[in-house]
């Protein structure tokens, strides 16, 4: 695990350490089982077409879970994730197992973020971040925000 980040280490504009992710059709099956979301939108071609999204799409909630991973990795053992939100604005399509090693355009993902505000309140050292999932086409399909409390080197 990365070394602990402290309140004093971050400023507005500081980048959250990016996290790379790949969604495959196999992972969507795994996520369906783990989350209990068996909506055919994520595995049935005909259903996805009828819904107007073209082909099965990556679960929004999986991308949200990736953003949780992004933040908890960054804040480390002593940080506390207090709020997390995101909106599922754009569709992402999983990488097919057959073309696992030769991804199509857009089939790679980065979870990213940057600090938008820092302040002390009620004895906590709080940091707000803008966060998002970005696909290989550079589309921010899943924008959101997070509020975390970080440990401080010099507690008053």
């Amino acid at each position: 695990m990365a070394k602990q980040v402290y309140y004093e280490d971050v400023e507005v504009g500081t980048e959250v350490t990016p996290l790379a992710k790949i969604a495959t059709t196999r992972m969507l099956v795994q996520w369906a089982g783990a989350s209990g979301d068996f909506n055919p939108l994520h595995y049935d071609d005909g259903f996805a077409k009828a819904m107007g999204v073209g082909a099965p799409i990556v679960h929004g909630a999986l991308k949200r879970a990736w953003l949780g991973h992004l933040m908890t990795d960054w804040i480390g053992e002593q940080g506390k994730l207090m709020k997390l939100s995101c909106q599922y604005r754009g569709m992402d399509y999983p990488r097919k197992m057959k073309t696992m090693d030769e991804p199509h355009d857009g089939e790679t993902w980065w979870c990213k973020g940057k600090v938008t505000e820092k302040y002390e309140e009620g004895g906590e050292h709080l940091v707000e971040c803008e966060i998002w999932v970005e696909n290989g086409k550079g589309e921010k399909t899943t924008p959101g925000s997070a509020l975390v409390a970080l440990p401080a080197r010099s507690r008053k």
């Binding site: 929004g60 909630a61 997390l84």
Partner: protein, 157 residues
């Protein structure tokens, strides 16, 4: 009400209603499978021995573990069934979610989830006439403390 509104009188009556509450236990294996599906190797979610020696004292659930549609999702699906019965459009997309994490949750915890329909609104989008339904869920632990609050938006069209 404008002609052709998606929001029927039956739907309007559902706003603010709490339709059901469910109680569920957070299971160790469910946490591990969830962490594996995300691809998060954090030992707090994967290694019960490691986790038991931390301040949490048990395998910790990753943030959002309780989110739709895990467990309380069964409830959300029932709520959405009620929406359909009241005349809401049948095509559904998940619009997004906001979480407030107040108390940690982990293996063995028993949570009571209560979901209510916070709002139903509509507007024209690229999907056509679109309805937005917001559900608010509160997860209370055995001590009676609110552990998590969530607010999720569903897009019906």
């Amino acid at each position: 009400m404008a002609n052709g509104s998606l929001i029927t009188d039956e739907l309007r009556k559902l706003i603010g209603m709490t339709l059901e509450t469910i109680v569920f236990k957070v299971e160790e294996g469910a946490i591990q499978r969830y962490a594996e599906a995300i691809g998060d190797p954090n030992p707090l979610y994967n290694d019960p021995d490691f986790a038991s020696k931390t301040k949490y004292g048990r395998l910790l659930a990753p943030p959002g573990f309780t989110g739709w549609p895990v467990k309380a999702g069964r409830l959300s699906q029932r709520l959405l069934g009620s929406l359909a019965k009241a005349g809401a459009p049948s095509r559904l997309l998940d619009g997004g979610i906001e979480f407030e994490f107040i108390e940690p949750i982990g293996a063995g915890d028993v949570l009571t989830a209560t979901t209510k329909i916070a709002s139903i609104t509509e507007r024209e989008t690229k999907l056509g006439k679109t309805m937005f339904t917001t559900l608010e869920t509160t997860f209370v632990n055995k001590k009676g403390d609110v552990a998590i609050k969530s607010r999720s938006t569903f897009i019906l069209f």
